[in-house]
Every structure is written in C-alpha cells, then in structure tokens.
C-alpha cells in the first residue's frame, strides 16, 4: 500500500461500500421487510429490476464479441475480446451476488438445479445463468493461466474454445430473451407500453445493442483511465453495428406498439408516458440520430456519448418493465429504500474496482503482453487439422 493515493473516486467507492456494508447487515439480520420497500403488492424491486435484469443485459458484450471473433472469425476484434469477457464474467458473478440479497432464502440458490420445473421460465433462466457463468469462467481462464504460465491448461482451453463459445452464445440467447419471457405471464399487470408477446425478442435484440454499446463504453473508459490504446478502427465498426442494431430494434418495437394500439395511450400522458418517452428518446432516438451523422460516428467522443445513451436508455427500459409498468396494476408506488440503493451502488462499485484490479494485474489488454501469440494456433496447423477432419 506504499503507493496508495486517495483519489476522489476511491473516496466515493469507500463511502458507498461502507453504506453497503451497513445495508447488508440490516438485510440479513432484519430481513427483506426492514431492508427494502418491497411488499406483498410489489414483490420485485430495484435488486431484480436493476441488479439482475440490467446486470445480465450489461454483460451481453461477452457473447456478442466472442461470437464475432471466434465464430465469424473477424480477427480484428480480438484485442477487445478479453476486456469484454472480463466484464461479462464480472457482471454475472455480481448478478449472483445480487440474487443472494434478493432471494428470501439465498442459501437455497442451488435448488433449481436439482428440483426441476421445466415449465418455469425462472427455472430455465436459473440453469442458463449457472451454465453461462461457468462458460464465461472457462473463457476467462486462459488469462489466469497465462499469468501463472500454465501452458498445458492454455492448450486444453484452446482446444475446446469453439464449442465453448457456441454454448455461450446459445445460453445467452436463451436467458437474455427469457428475462423478457418472465413477464409474459402478467398480461393484466404490466402496462401496455411494455407488455407484448414480443418481449423475449425485444429483450434479446436490445441485449445485443447494449452488448455493443458496453464494448464501446468500456474500451473508451479503459483508454481514458488506464491509458490503454484506443482501437479507433474497431470502435467505428462497432458503432456502425450498433446503429444497425438500434434501427432493427426500433422497427420491431414501434411496429409492435403500433399494431397493439399502444401508441394511442400516449395521449393519456402521465407517469408511464413520461418514462416511456424518456426510454425511447435516450435509448433509441438520440443515439440513432447521433450515429447517423458521419462526423459523430467517426469520432471517439461521439461514439462514447452514443454508447452511454444506449446503455442508459435500455437500463430505463428494463426498469420500466420491472417497476414503472407494474405500478398501476398493483396500486402502489414503489421507490427503493436507502438500503436497496446502497447494496446496488456497492455492487456496481465493486464491479468497477475489480475490473480496475484485473486490468492492473492480469494480461487483459493486448499492449501488456503478446497474448494473441500464446493462444493462437498458426494458420498452417489449422489447415492441417481441417484436412485431417475432412
């Protein structure tokens, strides 16, 4: 700790973690009633709406980018695979931590693995998240192996990486969409702005958009705060992909709202309309307009701004589904208690801190070590393997 310097952000993190610790004590000693504003009328709040629903969405860069590099063989993206996989892995671990707070009996979190109910979307999500977290840990493992110079393990991991990535993409497709399917069961409770049979498709396609946006965001952040080289050509490509994703999502979303006649509800105004418009404006309209302007799309600042807007917009979307859209039917207004905010903020803070530590001590970014040489098999060897297989 000789070189420890107290910066503004470290001080903020410290305060947040102290509040989080106090909230944790309250949560586990006094129970959910004392530590949340949840009630029989409103059983799911911030911890499900943000920590789980948004947490899983924000970690979607992992499957998007591994598919790009390993399945579509777009090699140029390889330098940013590692930070993205790290973010995804951290994201899922933190989602599980949040679940331990939210579940009434967190010590039974393993029950869905042995007590099956295949008719339940939650059961499917539980299995997918468990399996995908395992897949991510295996995708992340070579970084640790390299640090420890475990050459043999690196080679074993390399041999199974393609099936691993395919499994990861399929598992992500399933549970990203299933987080939307969870709400298919409440047609009478969820506001028509958000209830649609297309929920699984919308959740999946928005996860891809957010995955791309998060990749841009964290590359830019890393460039600013860790002095990492910013791969502008990659970010520009990601920006174009994000633009396409956002347009596809918008077409699906607006057409669905139109078909169901939900747009007419805009005339009623009110609380839901305000938050719906907020979501559409910052998550779709503004970033699409920004990314359509070539000068913005080509600049690091413009891409950064657009990605932040997309992330915030879709966080608003998930919160609207989980909280805003459920309030009218339940007849209560839910606003999280300080303890809920403190736990959520601590989890986010811990995420940033662990990411920073990992970047410092592990070969995450290409500039730190020649990692690609260590895991990549020379082309002729691949060719031989392919010949042998045919």
């Amino acid at each position: 700790m000789r070189n420890f310097r107290l910066t503004f952000w470290k001080a903020v993190l410290g305060l947040v973690l102290i509040a989080g610790a106090a909230a944790t004590v309250l949560r586990f000693v006094e129970g959910l009633g004392a530590s949340t504003h949840l009630s029989d009328s409103f059983p799911w709040g911030l911890w499900i709406g943000f920590d789980v629903m948004c947490g899983v969405m924000l970690a979607a860069g992992g499957f998007t980018l591994t598919a790009t590099v390993y399945i579509f063989n777009l090699e140029s993206f390889r330098p940013i695979v590692r930070p993205t996989v790290l973010t995804a892995f951290l994201g899922y671990v933190l989602v599980v931590v949040a679940l331990l707070f939210d579940l009434g009996r967190g010590y039974r979190i393993w029950h869905p693995l042995v007590m099956w109910n295949p008719r339940s979307v939650m059961f499917e999500v539980a299995w997918c998240v468990t399996l995908y977290t395992t897949v991510l840990s295996l995708e992340f493992a070579p970084i640790i192996f390299e640090r420890l110079r475990l050459e043999k393990l690196i080679r074993i991991q390399h041999a199974i990486v393609i099936p691993l990535v395919i499994a990861g993409v399929m598992l992500s497709t399933l549970h990203q969409s299933s987080l939307g399917s969870l709400y298919l069961i409440v047609p009478e409770k969820l506001h028509p702005f958000w209830y649609t049979p297309l929920l699984p498709l919308l959740f999946f396609s928005s996860a891809i958009c957010v995955g791309l946006a998060m990749t841009i965001f964290e590359s830019s952040m890393s460039a600013r705060h860790f002095g990492k080289h910013l791969e502008m050509s990659l970010l520009r490509k990601l920006g174009r992909a994000l633009l396409v994703g956002l347009i596809v999502y918008s077409v699906l979303r607006i057409q669905d709202l139109f078909d169901r006649g939900a747009l007419r509800l805009l005339a009623h105004g009110g609380y839901e309309t305000g938050l719906f418009l907020l979501e559409i404006t910052i998550g779709l309209a503004l970033p699409i307009v920004l990314l359509l302007i070539p000068r913005v799309r080509e600049s690091s600042g413009g891409l950064y701004l657009a990605s932040v807007l997309v992330v915030l917009g879709f966080v608003t979307n998930r919160m609207n589904v989980a909280i805003t859209g459920m309030e009218a039917s339940t007849g209560v207004h839910y606003f999280p208690k300080w303890t809920e905010w403190a736990v959520t903020a601590s989890i986010i803070g811990a995420g940033f801190a662990i990411f920073a530590l990992a970047v410092k001590y592990l070969p995450i970014f290409a500039s730190q070590s020649d990692h690609s040489a260590a895991v990549e098999v020379p082309a002729e060897e691949v060719l031989e393997l392919t010949h042998a297989g045919s």
Partner: protein
C-alpha cells in the same frame, strides 16, 4: 373427483368464523386486531371483505391450471387431484415470482422474517386427504362457504342463480376465470367491487410462457448447428487465405 369451495356472498353474515378457523388450522395468531385487517397477508390467508352490508371472501382460488405452479423455478407448488394447490416450503428459494405472476395476487410473503416463506391458503389439503372438508367450510354457520365436489357445486350455483335471478350477478366467478378455479364465488354485487377482476380472462396463463419455452429446444439445436456451420466456413476461409499467402511467398 375434484373438490371445490362455493362461497355465496348473499348468505354471508360477516361473522369471520372462517378467518378464525383458517388461522387455527394454519397455526397463525388470531385476535380482534387481526380480524379487523381488511387484506390478505402472510398471517391472514383468508379475509372477509366488507363493503357496506355486502361481504366477500378472499382466499386462494386454487386454480385448475395454477400460474404459481407453472412459474415456480423449484416446483414448490402442485395442483393435487383433489383440487388444492399445495406449497412445499422446503423447496422455496424465495424468488417471489409466484407473487408477481398470480393473477389474483394471492401468495403473500413473511417480510418481517430473516428466513421468510410464502404463505397461502392450500384448501386444507391435509384435511381433504383425510376426507374432511376445509376448515373454513366446517366453521361456517350459514352455509355461505360450502365444500363439495366441484361439479356438484357448479350445478348448485347455477340452480341458485336460476331460482333467484334478481338476487345474484349472473356469473359464477371461478367457473371459467383463468381456465377455472376450485373456489367458486356468487355475489349480489359486481365482483370488481371486491377486487376480483373480470380482465383476468378465461385462458389459463401458463400457456403464455410455455408457448415460448417449448420452442427453445429447436432454437438451441438449430442455433448451435448454424453457428457451427458459420465457424466452419469462416475458419476454413481464413486458413485457406493464410495457406495461399504462404505459398505465394
């Protein structure tokens, strides 16, 4: 033969004997203060609602195709052949999806406990197994809450409406709601006044999610095959390009 409960609000005198018997059977406290509470909770599994001189019970409807049993990730809820929807507390992880999903918002939570469970009426499944009626039906002094075979109770409810058409709303609540429920309700005032929504519809809700879930095996097999194929093509292309570049040297 599936059992049921017929509650006829026109016969109810608001004596709350059903509430007391229910608390006793479930090992819950009961007092004047609790009797005055006008909502279901983890310590009050059934409640007689008052609205002027009209009354209405609320209890778990024990659906024919229960949403809670469908959504529970650990299969804690089960629809038994006799009618009750039971809850196995030893499985529950406390995700509260049942509370969110139930169209009648019946399952309640022990919010004040460090290790909480869900609580709901289970139509006295243990008593039914012994051939006894539910505790509430046994305690009811006026016959407002009646226990019997569901089919017979439906016939009786139809007969009561037919005999005194001006006394009843022309509807048996629970006959078709969300695919039918073991609990059937008769009333002289619209059910909506007591929070029983007409908008729940007659379709059983589990189909809404099962329709999607049942597609997933196809999505996985097709998706994995597609990704594998794309990988094969793209990696082959890269390998060939590399080999050509090498031979060109």
């Amino acid at each position: 033969m599936s059992k049921g409960i017929l509650y006829d609000a026109t016969l109810c005198i608001d004596c709350k004997q059903c509430e007391r018997a229910c608390a006793e059977r479930n090992g819950l406290p009961y007092s004047e203060a609790i009797a005055a509470e006008q909502k279901q909770s983890a310590h009050k599994l059934t409640v007689v609602l008052e609205n002027g001189d009209k009354y209405m019970r609320r209890l778990c409807m024990n659906c024919q195709d229960p949403t809670c049993a469908s959504v529970c990730p650990v299969g804690a809820f089960r629809k038994t052949a006799e009618g009750p929807v039971t809850y196995d507390a030893s499985r529950c992880i406390g995700c509260r999806y049942c509370m969110l999903a139930c169209p009648f918002s019946v399952p309640k939570y022990e919010w004040e406990k460090a290790l909480p469970l869900v609580r709901k009426c289970d139509m006295c499944a243990d008593r039914l197994a012994k051939g006894q009626p539910t505790a509430c039906a046994e305690a009811c002094p006026t016959g407002a809450t009646k226990f019997g075979d569901r089919e017979a109770l439906i016939a009786e409810a139809q007969e009561r409406i037919a005999k005194n058409p001006d006394q009843y709303v022309q509807h048996i609540y629970g006959l078709e709601e969300v695919g039918g429920t073991s609990v059937l309700l008769l009333s002289s005032v619209p059910f909506e006044q007591f929070g029983y929504k007409a908008s729940v519809g007659t379709q059983a809700l589990p189909a809404l999610t099962y329709r999607v879930l049942s597609e997933l095996p196809q999505v996985v097999t097709f998706g994995a095959a597609l990704l594998g194929g794309i990988w094969w093509i793209t990696s082959r292309r890269t390998a060939v390009a590399a080999a050509e570049a090498k031979s060109g040297d």
